[in-house]
Subunit: 347 residues, 3 copies
């Protein structure tokens, strides 16, 4: 990681059209979100989140509404695609062409779902490249993120990621529902598997290739108990914390409350920041005294340990650069100043 | 998955010869099994399940007994092989040649154990192809399934599976005992590892290549407690349920009671079937009313969620096609009729 | 596994120089260790364990002290390296050249950290080959072990291991601290992830390629509770036992007490040895009576099961060959004699 971290703590999909009087209601609501409810990435969804008979309207809503707002994060519409159905690829090609043509300056890239093996990802990248060239955008200016939700994409994850090192590929996002359906996974009472092997590989391959890795959606939005239906905050937080522990860069949000939680978890806590700022300060002090490998609180600090402390500080600096309102709300002013002024080199 | 699912809920090995007056006792007993005791696949075992000095007799038993029964599932004899010992490969070559020559019409394929890297699997496939051609069978009519039980086969699992896309390869079966011995795994009181990474990869690669994936044998058949020795039903069920959750298609059985359990777990419960039939019925209803993405019981249903419900129904239909006695015993007649008549397309 | 097992139960790093009056204090102390405190491999550490301003002195200490002792295990100095920083590779090249030139007869190889993809490992191997040739050592006489601690090395683990089949590559050692920093893993209160997928792959790929696999360091050396600071024996033992269960050959030690624990865990317990010696004795007895597949204590014994029992005995024989003092202290004399005299072939 360098100081110019690309943030995607939250990958929030919003249906691009819903069967209400105002069909762009959820899209607009996400574009207008403030504070911790504002996602780092907003994904106007023309795929599974929008009903088949509303998809055309979803595309028009996206083209119309996105330019009306000065959204503080990135915009990544999700189009249709399927490695096993040419009809969906053709729809995706048309959606990408319209989006680049009409609002190419407003979007950071497109999200392509249900990709198969490497060849299918290369083909999706080529579709973006063609739209880019056709409408006069600079090569590489429109990004591509993909949903990893097929056995084939998981099988080729390493090869797809290596392709991503030198391409427009930006983020690898997990899609557990389609994935479980492909593999035939079953809920026998304890829920679906977490697919820990896949999550660990996603974090690793993304890291090795300089890509972002994002967890999958959590759709048990509400719980019912003792007569009350309420937002399922606990189970979503558990999932997001598990993803953060494994080094995923962000989490999928379906809902403003989920966005608040994912933004928060993927942000060091004040205690973490205090702890790691303090460790670096004490390490820098010991280094000036020339004692070399230092023991702090019973733990030996070498260059590797040091990098972990530095990650914490760099993530806070990146959030602070882009969303100063969030860091100002979350951290003590004096701590934030120490984090900003800290010397971060090991040698 | 399509409607023509290839069933292998149970991969039951039976020693092809045992040192008893009737050396084919267990083989015949498996061929005669009825109801839930009848495995989907019966594997007459000429490898580790049969003593070295009984293997020749096991081959003769298989050739003699299999044609005498109209076994309702598939027959897959397991022969000898070892990537690291040419002598075993030569034995396997002879066994495959005899089996195809004598009962090629009666068997669905052969199971080859202890394969190494891709090249070794290709060689085993070539041995089957040669026997097929030599004895006048159509290309591809004799299948090949392999036991994944060496570090090399695990290392090449993706490449082996990709080879399987266009070959006679049919099932990937886990062999944990040889595998643990190769890796040097140890039981320090909590048992051997479950090898979760391998199981997840097995499910994924098999799915990506259109192959079947089968779990490994569970050999703690009996428990002793308070003076009584009894069948270890709980621990085997735990293993089979874990495999089903991960999307493995079936489990290994060493014993008729294990076959009952594995057949049952890899079959949706009446509650699962009722739940998923009902969800599809309500989804179809909502779709007719044009509301698109639907919320059922607090969960959003999109095309991906829908596929999971459909898996349940398709598996029941496949069992019902082949073993109507089991589905009639297990499900309410009215529920089974609803499952048979349901419209299963998302759009 | 064959009878000539290469032992590395313990991979003990010792800082090659520390800022004390006697800067070689820890290195000498490890060279002099006796009994269970003596590691199988001693790693004089010129990388992260030694302060930047002490590294030159660490190299001189290693060159001076190692030849003064007749260390009973192997000596593997760790040099500097980084796939992403040419400056560290240049330092590593000079350190390797000096070590081979001055004490090439005293060391078994060098440990290279922070390797990247396969090409970087090949380059490190080439650096060792050049030093070997330059100073007149036979090709392959100086080994190479690497720390797997980057996303790239994990991504290429299979390819790196296959390269290791026919090269000087000897051991794959996990480096969790740098690894977590690369992936951005976070401790949210439950500690860092164990990276189970990586550990399982490490065990598998090492086994498939005939390499050793070694776990990562555990640096929470001390615990504080109720006013007392004490050695954290429990948590280290948990980690080492987990590694042993997965089939890793050894564990990393930072401290003599850790060496005692890792040496012990990676050595079959007297109960395991008694159990497996007894099972092989009873199996051999049954085999002589011709009953073939045998049931012992409710578990069927086939060739695969048998290999697991044999692993136990072979590991004890290997330790006994090299460190008879440890086996004499640990096992009953009569049991050790039985283990030595047992017939270990299945057929």
């Amino acid at each position: 990681m360098t100081d110019d971290i690309r943030l995607c703590r939250t990958f929030q999909t919003a249906p691009a059209a819903v069967p209400k009087d105002d069909s762009a209601k959820y899209l607009v609501s996400a574009l207008e979100a403030e504070g911790f409810q504002a996602p780092d990435w907003l994904v106007p969804d023309m795929e599974d989140g929008t009903a088949p008979n509303m998809k055309a309207e979803g595309l028009e809503n996206t083209i119309e509404k996105v330019p009306e707002y000065d959204f503080p994060g990135e915009i990544w519409p999700r189009v249709e695609w399927s490695y096993e159905d040419e009809e969906y690829c053709e729809k995706g090609r048309n959606q990408i062409d319209r989006l680049v043509s009409e609002i190419g300056d407003e979007i950071d890239g497109v999200v392509v779902p249900k990709v198969g093996r490497l060849e299918d990802v290369e083909r999706a990248a080529e579709v973006v490249a063609e739209a880019e060239a056709e409408h006069g955008y600079e090569d590489g200016s429109i990004g591509l993120s993909i949903i990893i939700e097929t056995g084939r994409a998981r099988s080729d994850l390493r090869e797809i990621s290596k392709f991503g090192e030198d391409s427009r590929l930006t983020a690898l996002v997990f899609g557990p529902v389609d994935y479980a359906a492909e593999l035939g996974g079953r809920d026998l009472g304890d829920g679906m598997p977490r697919w820990d092997g896949l999550l660990e590989a996603l974090s690793n391959e993304a890291s090795a290739a300089g890509l972002l890795s994002i967890g999958g959606p959590f759709d048990d939005l509400f719980k019912e108990r003792a007569g009350l239906t309420y937002y399922n905050a606990d189970d979503y937080a558990d999932q997001v914390e598990h993803e953060a522990q494994l080094g995923l860069d962000g989490s999928w949000s379906l809902y403003p409350k989920q966005t608040v939680q994912a933004n928060t978890v993927h942000m060091p806590t004040p205690e973490e920041l205090e702890r790691d700022v303090s460790k670096i300060e004490r390490f820098n002090e010991a280094k000036r005294e020339g004692t070399g490998a230092v023991t702090l609180d019973g733990q030996m600090v070498d260059e590797a340990t040091f990098k972990n402390f530095r990650n914490t500080v760099q993530q806070v600096r990146a959030i602070d650069d882009i969303r100063p309102a969030q860091t100002e709300e979350y951290y003590d002013e004096e701590l934030l100043t120490r984090a900003r002024e800290l010397e971060l080199s090991y040698n």
